[in-house]
Structures are given as structure tokens and as C-alpha cells.
Amino acid sequence: MAIAAALLTLGLPFAAFLLLALVPRLRRSGPPAGWVSIGAIGAAFLVAAAAWLAEAGGAGVWGWIPGAGGPLVTVGVLLDDLSRAMVLLVTLVSLLVQVYSLAYLHDEPRPALGRYYAYHALFAFSMLGLVLAPTFVQMFIFWELVGLCSYLLIGFWYDRPSAAQAAVKAFWVTRLGDVGFIIGIVWLWAAAGTFEFTALFAEAAAGQIPAAGLALTMVLIYLGAVGKSAQFPLHVWLPDAMEGPTPVSALIHAATMVTAGVFMVTRTMPLFALVPDVLTLIAWVGALTALLAATMACVEGDIKRVLAYSTISQLGYMMAAAGAGAAAAGFFHLGTHGVFKALLFLGAGAVIHAAGTNDVFRMGGLFRAMPQTGIVFLIGTLALAGVWPLAGFFSKEAVLAGVLHGQLTGPFVLLALTAFLTAFYMFRVVFIAFFGRPHDPHAHLHDPPRLMAGPLWVLAGLTVGLGLWFTVQPPAGEHGPGWLAPLSLGLAAAGIVLAWATYQARVVSADLLATLLAPLDVAARRRYGLDALYALLYRGAMLGCSRVIGWLDRYVVDGVVNMASAWSLRAGDLLRRIQTGVPQDYVYGVAFGVLVLLVWAQWGSR
């Protein structure tokens, strides 16, 4: 039953994709295509929900690449608590986002819309496949496929050079991580002889996996997560990915795909558990990522990019938790974050939809103009800031507790600082965009249509509801010392207050802050020079190297060949000059021949 359910959730979006891909007429018709995809994902959601309620579990594995001794590579489905929850999240957010998109993109030409939904269906399929993967190879397969979808959706407006560039950049950077991932997978296979999680975990438990090089292997595998989950230093693609349509950002670059890395680490925790040092590394990297992203978010003016940085920062949280061994907490945060970050993105979408700009400084006083949006956005913000009693508060506290429990003081400090910054930059946006003076009083701003509002309210409701649910029934797992909750709340409050003081009450001058923290400010605005570095590496190292090789190939390797032939041509031309046409010279030829023969006979043949 469980397997059937899993296959069904997997199959529905795929069917939708095939339908849209292979029936051009349907695809070009636009909205109907959208409804096909929505219907499929909706059904998938129902199935997932049913499976969730029934707590159905089970695994099925089938051979994929045959080999002499049994299949070499297998694929299948693995439905357990982890994947169940993730499936639920993915289907839900996908459903909401797809519905939302229908209104958000109603101006798009119909074929484009059809294409959009084809991509979405493919993405849903791929993401589910990743979540349900019982083997590393399958995970990698869908890992790449979601990457492909993200590439396609970022480049949805493919005639915008910036979008095209962003899409390619996203693909390349994540691919860079995947290089490590695939190598790690192969190494693990060579060491353990299988790709299947259950078998691997069993071996890990039995300590049959040779420890030699295992750490490096796991680091390489983790590299995949670094790329996908935008960890430092491979996070550079995520902000640019905001070139895609906002709903895409909500779905792929906030709620689901980017969390795949966290999911993978959580999924394979038994293996990472074998190498504590790697876990510590993961924790530190996560915490660092969280802080850096937060600082960059503080100086960003583009509302979507702020959210993108906050996503990175929150992913850092999750990774830190996983690294601290509190995978559950990390996953918990993954879930809640998925909900309220989707909410924030969709809200931002509504705002952008109305205001027609991403720049917060060209917004203002939106709250009055579009109260619904304002409210849900505020809810999301509070949740993200980790204010009681919203979902974010609990998951964030769980993460901090986990990190603390892991004796990782350094990361903990960084994360705490991040919590403060999070509250600050989010409310910075809120105050500027929603409460500040209207930037353009004459603009006719209005709340979004029902199709967009609906999903917003659903997500808002979830955020609140989950929060209340947890207040009533605290979640299982780590609980930090008593001072933890007040601390986090305090940090959040401090952030909010600072933001209010700076951008609403204006008792503190933003410029003053900037000048005070000048070096940090500049560095953050420059994105810590990482993008520049990558650009340099790409242009200088890779393209430069390719030019050199290309030149060598054409003008040396091939040059030698041409030179040989050219030389023969010239030699022939020179040699034929001996054919002077003068008879006596021909006799000379004979004479020389005779001479050579004589000489040879004299001395050559003793």
C-alpha cells in the first residue's frame, strides 16, 4: 500500500508532465495546461496526506542497470517518516504555488504558461523522486533533474540576458558541488559495494564500511549539499536565481529544492555519524553561511534578494543543526521554514505584482493599500524572526538547542547573532515597504486576486496553526536550557526594535550604522567578493585555459601535421628542379648513379 501510494504520488506529476510535453496543443493552450498540472499535484497531495495520516511506510527496489552478478544499480521508493513529511511539504507547497502562479502569470502568452506548468510538473516529479529515493544513484538522478528544472525555471524568461545568465550560473555552481557528490557516491559504492541506503546503513551500523578515506568520501558527498543548499562558498547562485518568476523562487529556491541538501544529509545521517569531524565541519560551515547571508541581507535593497539571503541563512541553520547531530531539529526547521518562507515569497510576489518593482525603497505604505498582503507578510516575518508563538520560534529554538547540545559554542554564537540580524533585516523590509511613506501616492495598489490570496492565507494559517499546535503540544526532541527561549526571543526583539528605531522612528541613522560598520558594510555590499572571485576563476582560469588549449590544438598539434604535408610539397618542388631539361645533366644523373654504385662496390660490400 505504502509503495503504491509512493508510486502514485510520483506518477501523477510525471503523467502530467508527459501529457504537457507530448501534446503540444494542450501545452500551448495555457491555463488548461496549468489545471492539468494542478490537478495532478493536488491528487498527489491528497495521496501524500493519506499516507501521512496512515503513517504508511515501506520500501521497494527494482534493478535499473543490470550487471553480471545481479543489478549494478537499483532504483525504487523508500517511504518512511522523513520522506513522508517531506513528500507532504513538497506536494503542498507545489500545489499552492501552482495555483498562485495561475493568477500571477496570467499575462504571460499561453504557450509560455504551458511551458511553465510543464516545468512545474517535471519539478514536482523530480523533487518527489529525490525525496523517495532509496539509493544514492536515484537521489543523484533526481538531484540533477531538480537542478535542471531550476535551470529551466530561472531561465523562464529566456530572452532576458540576466535571466539566462542566472540560470546558467545556477546550473554551473550546483554542478560544481555535484562533481564532488558523484565522486563521493562512486567511492562509497567502491567501498561498500552498494548504493542502497538501507544496506549502507546496515553496514554502517555493523561497522563494515572501511574507515579509510570515508571522511573524505563524506566530505565530497556533502559538497553536493553545499552546492544544492547554497552553503558557503557555493551560495552565490541563489540570489541571482531570483531572476526567475517569484512563485518559482518560493517553491524551488525557498521551500523545496534548496532544502534537498539538508534532506540528503539528514537522510544519510547514519553515514555522516561515522565521521564526527565532517559533522563539525558541516556545523561550522552552516553557521558561517547563516551569518554571512544575514549580513548581506541587511544591505540588500531588492526584496526578493533579501528573502534569498534569508533563505541561505536559514539553510545555514538547518545544516548547522544537522552538523550538530540534531538532524531532527534541522529537519523540523526545514519544514516550518518551507511553509513561512513560501509564504513570504508569495507575499513578496503579491507586492511586486502590485508595485511592479523589486526595490523596497520604491515601495512604502503598502500596508494601508494592501492590508491582506501586509498581514500575511507580517506573520511570515514574525515567524522567520522566531517570535513566539509562531512556527519559526519552535524550530529555531530546537536548532539552537541542538547546536548547544552538540557542544558547538562557536556555531551557536554565530547562529544567535544571526537570529538577531534576521529579525533586523526582515523588519527593515517590513518597515520600509509596508509602513514607510508611500513612494508613489498615485499608484493604485490593491490586494491580489483570490487565486493568489488563497494560497497566502493557507500558508499564513499553517504558520500560525503549527505554532499554536506546538505551544499546546511541545515538539519532541532536544530542549535547551531554560535561558535559551528568552535569549532567542530577546535577540529577535532587539532586532525588531533596532529596525524600528532605524527605519520607522528614524532615531538611529542608517548611514551612521553603515559608517560605524564601514568595513563590514562594504564587504557585505560586495558580497564578500565571492562573485568577483568566481567570475575571475571562470574567465581567467577556465576560459583562458581553454583558449590556450584551443590554440595549441589548432596551431601546434595540428600545425605539425600541416607542416609535414607542407614540407613534402616544398621538398617535391625543390627536388623537381634537378630535372633541368638539359640532356647533359641527365647524363650527369647516370654518371652519379654509376659513381655511387662504384663507391658502394669499393667500400660498401666487403
Binding site: 535542471l148 554551473w172 560544481l176 559504492w189 567502491a190 581553454s546 589548432r554 607542407a566
Partner: protein, 508 residues
């Protein structure tokens, strides 16, 4: 097996060529129809044998044998095993689609199709012949018509003579189609000399007075002999397989060749080289192969990275694709060199995958060129609007070539990686993986430059693929995806062929 199905597959195109030559004078449509029908027949039959092949029994099936020259031990002996099965199918697919892809050839189309079909007979013959002598004759038949095909129907690019050998470039006229045709032909004939030497050496040293593959397989050769002969085979076939540094015929040749010919040559003929190394080299000379695997694999690694980087440097679309072939043939040779089950299966699978992929690429490039009349990537842009179908197909091909899962390319590369790490030289894994990343870089770059971004001002009234051309695209894309999602289709039979081969090499 009452009907000599392999012979039919092999000679059907040749009959087609004769028919075209003698019946279809000045009737272009008839020419195309004959070509389509005969190649279609081959395709259907190859599909049929592919399904009818008994995988339990394995070994060589659909065996045919007619003694030609008894005293010399030359016989017309045909048969397919899992490996040749797949490649026969590949050949059929490529030529069938190639006929449609070059539907618009107008100049001297009669001769064009005749030569093309004759060439294909040679290719089929190489894959199915079990007699080394006949094998060689087919091989030459597959190589020679190329000269005219490129020389007559090719297109010239321009190469600016620079660098230390500039004078030589001027003298040889680098870039012109005549140059490309000449270079390709001379190179390949030069290689075939090595092959011939190798074959005769085996014939002599075996002393069985027979060219039959099976009998030679039974013979045991002295290791020294094996070393030398394998080297000869490696160089001879390797030239055709585009091994570095003997690959320089391929970019020029493939860039200059007309669409169908590029498809066939990059798609199938280069595989012919790899096939030769695997079938004759490894199949007959296990110890030689074992002793020289290090060389094959190392050079293959150079191919992968070097080819990818060279492709990245190109500004001419066809050259990009051509160099990508050089890079991907590296994967093929690497897989073979690993001498592991995964690697060898991957190698053979990559022959197939890359064949289809490159076929698709060259078909698309041909279409783009035909519509835009330019191969300069720099000038192109935003073609996605005008030719969405081509854009999609190109993307699929590109994804396959960068080894994206659910395309045939991924399976091949995964298997090769696995094999490489399990091989005697694990470090081979790194260049191979790096290659896939570099591929991602240049392929996406090119795709973005051509199809994305705002429409380029240089071109008006571009349009999408039309009528017959769709056949090529759809079939090839379909094959890439289907085999990418169900690799078992191919690996199943291939495994039956590769395993015995490996057991002979690894466990002497």
C-alpha cells in the same frame, strides 16, 4: 536462421545505392524515397534482430558463413553478439535519420545518396563481419567514400593562419573542405595500414590459415606479439576513434562535412574505431590489452579534458560539436581501458549514447546552418523564439552530452566512473568527472548564446524544423531519453558480450 538477415541489413543500402545510381537519374524524390526505404528496411530488421536476439544463449547469433577463398581462409562470415547488436541498431538509427536530415540536399543528390548508402553498407559490414579480412574490406568501404562526400557536398570554414606553422597552413589551405576531405582520408587510410598489418600479423602468428574471428580467438598468441599487435590496432583504430594527438582530422572533417555525413561519421564511424579496439584488440589480444590498458586509459583522459577545453575555445558551432566528440570518445576509450564490467559496459553504452547524441547535434547544427547560413556562434542569439523545436532538441542533446540523468549520456558516464575507480588506475576518475563539468560549461554556454537572450539582429525569417526533418529530431531525442531511462534495454545484451571478453583479460 533461413533468411540471411544480417546480409540483408548490410547490403540493403548498397542495393539502394545501385538503384539510385541506375534508375533514379534526375528524379530527386525517387532518390530520397529509395534511400529512405532501403535504410528503413535495415532499421526495421536491426530492430527485429535486436529483439529476437537470444540473451540467454548470448554469443554470436544470426550466423552466416560463405567460404570465399578457401586456401587463404577468407570467408564471408557474419554474426552479431550483444555489442555489435547495439551498434548495428545505432548505425541503422543514424543513417535512417540522416537520410531525413539531409532531405534538402539538392546538388547532385543522386550521387550523394548513392555514396552515403554505400558507405553505410561498409559500416554495417564492419559491425557484423566475423572474418577479419572481410572486416577490413568493409572498413575501407566505410572510409573511402568520405573523401567525395566531404569534398563535393561539404562546406568550407575559414581558419586564420597564425602561430609558428602559419606558412604551412597557407600552403595546405587549412579550413577548406578539400583540405578537410584530404586530411581525413589520408589520416584514416594511414590508420588502416596499421590495422591491416595487425590483421595479417594475427593471421600469420595464429598459423591456422584462417581470418575467422572465432578461430583466431581460439588461438593463443605470444605476449610479445600481443603487445605489438594491440598497439597496431590501437593506433590504427584509434585514429578513427579520434585519440589524442591523432584526432586533428576530426574537427576539420566533421566541421566541413555535410549534415548526414557528419552525423554518420561522428555518430558511427568514430565508434567503428572504438569497436575495433574492443572487438579485435581486447577480444583477440587479452594480454596485449591488459599490458597496454594504462596507455589507452591515460590518453583517453587527455582526450576527455583536452577535447572539452578545445570545444570551449571554438567560435564555430560545428567545431564545438566536433571537439565534443573528441572529448566523448575519450569516455568511450576510458571505459574500455578500465577493464571492468561497469567500465566496459559503460564504454559500449557510451558508443551508442554518443552516437545518437552527436547524430542529433549534427542534425541540429545542419538545420541551424541551413536556416541561418552561419556557423558563427558569436553572431547568433535568441533563436529560441524562431525555432523552439530545434532549441528543445538541442537542449536535450546538450544535457545528454553533459551527462544529465534520464538521458543516455548519464548512464554511460556513471558506469565509466564506477569502472574507472575500480580499475588499476583509480585517478582516471577525476579527469573523467572534470570532463563532464567542462562539458556542462561549454554546452550550456553555447545553448544560451544561440537560443537564449534577445533575438540577434543578424538574422531574419528563421523558422523551425520542417516535415522530414522532424523525423530525425524526434527519433533521436526519443532514443536518447528512452535509453536514458531504461538503460537495461541496452546493457542487457551488451553485458552478455562484454563479460566473456573481460574474463579472458582479467583472469588469464
Amino acid at each position: 536462421m533461413s533468411v540471411p538477415v544480417l546480409s540483408v541489413i548490410t547490403w540493403a543500402p548498397f542495393i539502394g545505392a545501385l538503384l539510385i545510381m541506375f534508375t533514379a537519374r534526375h528524379r530527386p524524390l525517387a532518390v530520397r524515397l529509395i534511400a529512405a526505404v532501403t535504410t528503413g528496411l535495415s532499421t526495421v530488421l536491426s530492430l527485429w534482430i535486436y529483439l529476437a536476439y537470444d540473451r540467454e544463449a548470448a554469443g554470436f547469433q544470426f550466423h552466416e558463413k560463405v567460404v570465399l577463398v578457401p586456401p587463404l581462409g577468407v570467408a564471408y562470415e557474419l554474426g552479431v553478439d550483444g555489442m555489435s547488436l547495439l551498434l548495428v541498431l545505432l548505425t541503422a538509427i543514424i543513417i535512417f535519420t540522416g537520410v531525413f536530415a539531409s532531405w534538402t540536399v539538392t546538388v547532385r543528390s543522386q550521387e550523394f545518396y548513392a555514396l552515403l548508402l554505400a558507405l553505410v553498407t561498409g559500416v554495417f559490414g564492419v559491425f557484423v563481419s566475423l572474418d577479419l579480412f572481410v572486416f577490413f574490406l568493409f572498413y575501407e568501404l566505410a572510409v573511402l567514400p568520405m573523401y567525395l562526400l566531404i569534398g563535393i557536398w561539404g562546406s568550407s570554414g575559414q581558419v586564420r593562419p597564425r602561430g609558428i606553422f602559419a606558412w604551412a597552413f597557407r600552403e595546405t589551405g587549412v579550413g577548406s573542405k578539400e583540405y578537410a576531405a584530404m586530411k581525413l582520408t589520408l589520416y584514416l587510410l594511414f590508420g588502416s595500414a596499421f590495422i591491416l598489418v595487425g590483421i595479417f600479423a594475427l593471421y600469420v602468428f595464429a598459423g591456422t590459415g584462417s581470418f575467422s574471428f572465432l578461430e583466431l580467438q581460439a588461438a593463443a598468441f605470444d605476449p610479445g606479439v600481443q603487445w605489438w599487435v594491440f598497439l597496431a590496432f590501437y593506433v590504427g583504430f584509434g585514429i578513427l576513434a579520434g585519440i589524442w594527438p591523432l584526432h586533428t582530422w576530426s574537427p576539420d572533417g566533421h566541421a566541413s562535412a555535410p549534415t548526414a555525413v557528419s552525423m554518420l561519421h561522428a555518430g558511427v564511424l568514430m565508434k567503428l574505431g572504438a569497436y575495433g579496439v574492443v572487438r579485435l584488440g581486447m577480444g583477440l589480444l587479452p594480454e596485449g590489452a591488459g599490458a597496454l590498458a594504462w596507455l589507452v586509459g591515460t590518453i583517453a583522459c587527455i582526450n576527455i579534458v583536452y577535447g572539452a577545453l578545445s570545444a570551449m575555445a571554438q567560435t564555430d558551432l560545428k567545431y564545438v560539436i566536433a571537439y565534443s566528440s573528441v572529448s566523448h570518445m575519450g569516455i568511450v576509450m576510458l571505459g574500455a581501458a578500465t577493464l571492468t564490467e561497469a567500465g566496459l559496459n559503460g564504454s559500449v553504452f557510451q558508443m551508442f549514447a554518443h552516437g545518437v547524441m552527436t547524430g542529433l547535434f549534427f542534425a541540429l547544427v545542419g538545420l541551424v546552418y541551413e536556416k541561418a547560413h552561419s556557423r558563427e556562434i558569436g553572431k547568433m542569439g535568441g533563436f529560441g523564439h524562431a525555432m523552439p523545436g530545434i532549441a528543445v532538441a538541442f537542449t536535450v542533446g546538450g544535457l545528454s552530452s553533459l551527462g544529465l540523468p534520464a538521458t543516455a549520456g548519464f548512464v554511460a558516464e556513471l558506469l565509466t566512473f564506477m569502472g574507472a575507480w575500480r580499475s588499476a588506475h583509480p585517478w582516471w576518475l577525476f579527469p573523467a568527472v572534470a570532463g563532464t563539468f567542462l562539458t556542462a560549461v561549454y554546452v550550456l554556454r553555447v545553448a544560451k548564446q544561440i537560443f537564449w537572450g534577445p533575438p540577434s539582429p543578424h538574422f531574419e525569417h528563421l523558422d523551425d524544423a520542417r516535415g522530414p526533418e522532424w523525423v530525425a529530431l524526434v527519433v533521436l531525442v526519443g532514443v536518447i531519453v528512452v535509453f536514458g531511462m531504461m538503460p537495461g534495454l541496452a546493457i542487457g545484451p551488451v553485458g552478455t558480450a562484454t563479460m566473456p571478453l573481460l574474463t579472458r583479460i582479467v583472469a588469464p
